[in-house]
């Protein structure tokens, strides 16, 4: 017995020694840099917003394959560096820092949560890196928290909310309630919605916030039913959207009030099925958007993914990658000092129509879409049908602001 134990001790020690002494983390990986264009993506691949991160990953990988088949950008292949952050800002900062210091990454995209993005942006100058957001919603990123090396190619939270509120002006709902996720994006969008409703002269009866990853929404639903509202605005995403919508159907919430939302991904529509039918949602991207470039994109996507259609953040990520391509091509470089001026006032015409990266606050000026979850032939689940397309200058806020004047 004694000898076995001492042997075990020894092997434990040997293992411990090897693990601490030898590892590659203490050495540099920059030597094998090569000539690729590296894009760092610290994504929330797991956790409550994992489905969003997975979409961003697929969107970027699909685009990278497509562009590399065409010879890459400036004759250089694109290489993605993807790491899981679990949606934790501290982990996100650490992984991004590792990408910069070990792998010499100078371009970032895909950081999933707004809270993660808000933690990253103060570091961009020190890292000499450009970060183009493909999904971060928080309005502050292009207002109070704007830094020179940050750009937003996607529709922001306030823009999505604005699209829905412009649509609501044509409807007769009178009393509104809002339910948002309890972090940067949720608070920001609910605040914008509240202001929009009040400016319309209608009644805003209350708001409530749920922690990301809430499994049981029954208490929130009870609160909604008691609020007396005839419409509720949801600022949820990922697993939270699935959980809420499925439970709202059980409680027949839709018979009491209209369900409006800032986001409803296809993955959620697949998961909850008919429970989401009739929901009015602001879409950052929908595969049903009617323009030739989008049709081409959807066909390409279907070919790659066995007939599946692209989801919201897959389309947004594609658009973001296209902004990268146009910017890098125009700059002739990925150096922050050259790429920044090239991205400013850059315009591309792609799957969502024209996107203009305005210089004043680095927000991509683009159209807004309102969709309704509807049945469509050939699909076993509801899909987003575009019911309103709103002009870019109507949905994009004034420079450096996240609220609207009219």
């Amino acid at each position: 017995m004694t000898s076995t134990r001492s042997l075990s001790r020894r092997s434990v020690l040997a293992g411990a020694g090897a693990a601490v002494a030898a590892p590659s983390i203490w050495t540099s990986a920059q030597a094998q840099a090569g000539n690729t264009i590296k894009i760092g993506m610290p994504l929330a691949l797991t956790g409550p917003l994992g489905s969003v991160g997975q979409q961003q990953k697929r969107g970027a990988e699909f685009h990278t394959k497509w562009i590399n088949d065409r010879g890459g950008i400036l004759g250089r292949k694109v290489e993605l560096l993807i790491e899981d952050t679990v949606g934790n800002p501290a982990t996100c900062v650490r992984k991004a820092q590792e990408m910069v210091e070990r792998h010499d990454v100078r371009l970032f995209t895909g950081i999933t949560l707004s809270s993660e993005a808000l933690a990253i942006v103060p570091k961009l100058n020190e890292w000499n890196s450009i970060f183009i957001s493909s999904d971060n919603g928080d309005g502050r990123l292009t207002a109070a928290s704007l830094v020179p090396n940050f750009f937003r190619a996607n529709t922001s939270g306030p823009m999505g909310t604005r699209a829905v509120s412009l649509y609501l002006r044509e409807t007769t709902h009178k009393k509104f309630f809002a339910l948002g996720l309890d972090y940067a994006w949720g608070h920001n969008s609910v605040q914008v919605f509240e202001e929009e409703i009040k400016r319309m002269g209608r009644e805003f009866v209350g708001k409530v916030f749920a922690p990301t990853g809430t499994k049981d929404y029954s208490t929130y639903i009870t609160r909604l039913r008691q609020s007396g509202a005839d419409a509720v605005y949801l600022v949820l995403a990922g697993d939270d959207n699935n959980a809420f919508i499925a439970q709202a159907a059980q409680y027949q919430l839709a018979s009491r009030m209209a369900l409006l939302a800032e986001q409803l991904e296809l993955s959620t529509m697949r998961a909850v099925g008919d429970a989401c039918l009739g929901m009015i949602v602001s879409a950052r991207y929908a595969f049903t958007i009617d323009n030739p470039k989008n049709k081409e994109f959807v066909e390409l996507w279907k070919k790659e993914y066995d007939g599946l259609v692209p989801d919201q953040f897959e389309g947004e990520q594609w658009q973001c990658q296209q902004v990268f391509v146009a910017g890098i091509t125009k700059a002739g470089s990925i150096e922050a000092d050259k790429l920044r001026p090239a991205l400013e006032d850059l315009t591309i015409d792609d799957i969502k129509g024209k996107v203009h990266m305005r210089k004043c606050d680095h927000q991509g000026v683009q159209q807004g879409f309102v969709v309704k979850a509807s049945k469509r032939e050939g699909f076993s689940h509801p899909v987003p049908e575009v019911i309103a397309t709103l002009a870019a200058d109507r949905v994009t806020p004034p420079c450096n602001k996240m609220t609207y004047d009219d």
Binding site: R5, A16, V20, W26, Q30, T212
Partner: protein
């Protein structure tokens, strides 16, 4: 001369020379390691020397991190002063925590420390004006100074600052555990009733050690937020308390140096495993089980054994037999 007595100066020399030889990312890791080492060492004062097993040491870390982050964001106070102020603040709050928690002993003490940490965790979510809620505090600067000195704000300057904090705290703790005060702490660890009967107000001693441990844990947290440029609620989560306890046990409790090694081992293993597999936590758990079963004296105890030297029966060192006996309840 014993081999182990040479290890200290050698390790210190290596740490001092590190910025000249290591690549930039390794320096980032090393700085984090120095901070975590300090954090783990602070807990050792409670766990290893007084057997006050805290399940809520994240409270100290998070408090320090938020305090220094808030000061640095909202004032021009130079980095070293902000960090020191945060540590002192944490220590002062800990007097209250210690007063409440030492009303109980054993598992109840542990539960109270956990409860306090979870309380702070909840507060950090709701007190948005100070903590930034679930978004945390971002863009925490390393304010220059004092006297216009900018050297501490640089990457390597900050590393040396953190290292100085660790080394300073180490000598402070060592002096403390070798002093008569330390003897009373060990008395409490071995037999509190007897120590009480000898005429020592053991509760006062316990409150003091909690305050010192929290202040040093707070110092580690206060270093972390300007290091990462960021502080959020995760720092106060019970997971952090569990991890630091693992560092202490794996490294070797009641040795001061062991928990620093434990932190090194923890961070390195986490980075190595997570680059190979997403299920790294599983392998990490297995490693922890192996340590508790086969090496209850921890890395430092193993290292001494490996160097062909029995743990010396000096007063400042925990005798091997006691370390072993004390590690058992953790298993």
């Amino acid at each position: 001369m014993r081999v182990t007595s040479l290890l200290g100066p050698l390790a210190l020399a290596l740490l001092l020379a590190a910025p000249f030889g290591l690549p930039i990312f390794a320096m980032t890791l090393l700085t984090e390691l120095v901070i975590l080492g300090l954090f783990a060492m602070s807990l050792d004062l409670m766990v290893g020397y007084t057997r006050l097993v805290s399940f809520g040491h994240a409270a100290a870390y998070g408090l320090g991190a938020y305090a220094s982050g808030y000061i640095l964001l909202n004032s021009a106070l130079p980095l070293p002063f902000a960090v020191l102020a945060a540590a002192i603040l944490t220590g002062m709050i800990a007097i209250g925590v210690g007063w409440v928690c030492t009303l109980a002993t054993g598992v109840s003490f542990s539960m109270l420390t956990l409860a306090f940490a979870q309380l702070l965790y909840a507060v950090s979510f709701k007190w948005t004006s100070v903590t930034g809620g679930s978004d945390g505090l971002a863009g925490i600067p390393r304010n220059p100074g004092p006297l216009g000195l900018e050297v501490l704000s640089t990457k390597n300057g900050f590393y040396y600052f953190a290292l100085a904090c660790l080394v300073g705290s180490f000598f402070l703790c060592r002096a403390l555990v070798r002093s008569p005060f330390g003897a009373v702490l060990r008395g409490i660890r071995e037999n509190e009733a007897k120590t009480l009967a000898l005429g020592y107000n053991t509760r006062l001693y316990k409150i003091t050690v909690v305050a010192i441990a929290y202040a040093l844990g707070g110092l580690a947290g206060a270093l972390y937020s300007p290091f990462a440029g960021f502080a959020n609620t995760e720092l106060l989560f019970w997971l952090v308390s569990g991890q630091v306890l693992i560092m202490v046990i794996v490294g070797g409790s009641g040795t001061l140096i062991g928990p620093i090694l434990g932190a090194t081992f923890f961070l390195t293993l986490e980075h190595q495993l997570s680059s190979y597999t997403e299920a790294w936590a599983l392998f990490f758990g297995l490693t922890f089980i192996a340590f508790v079963l086969f090496a209850p004296e921890g890395i430092w105890g193993l290292a001494k054994r490996y160097l062909g030297q029995r743990a010396p029966e000096e007063t400042e060192q925990a005798p091997a037999a006691i370390t072993k006996a004390e590690a058992k309840p953790h298993g």
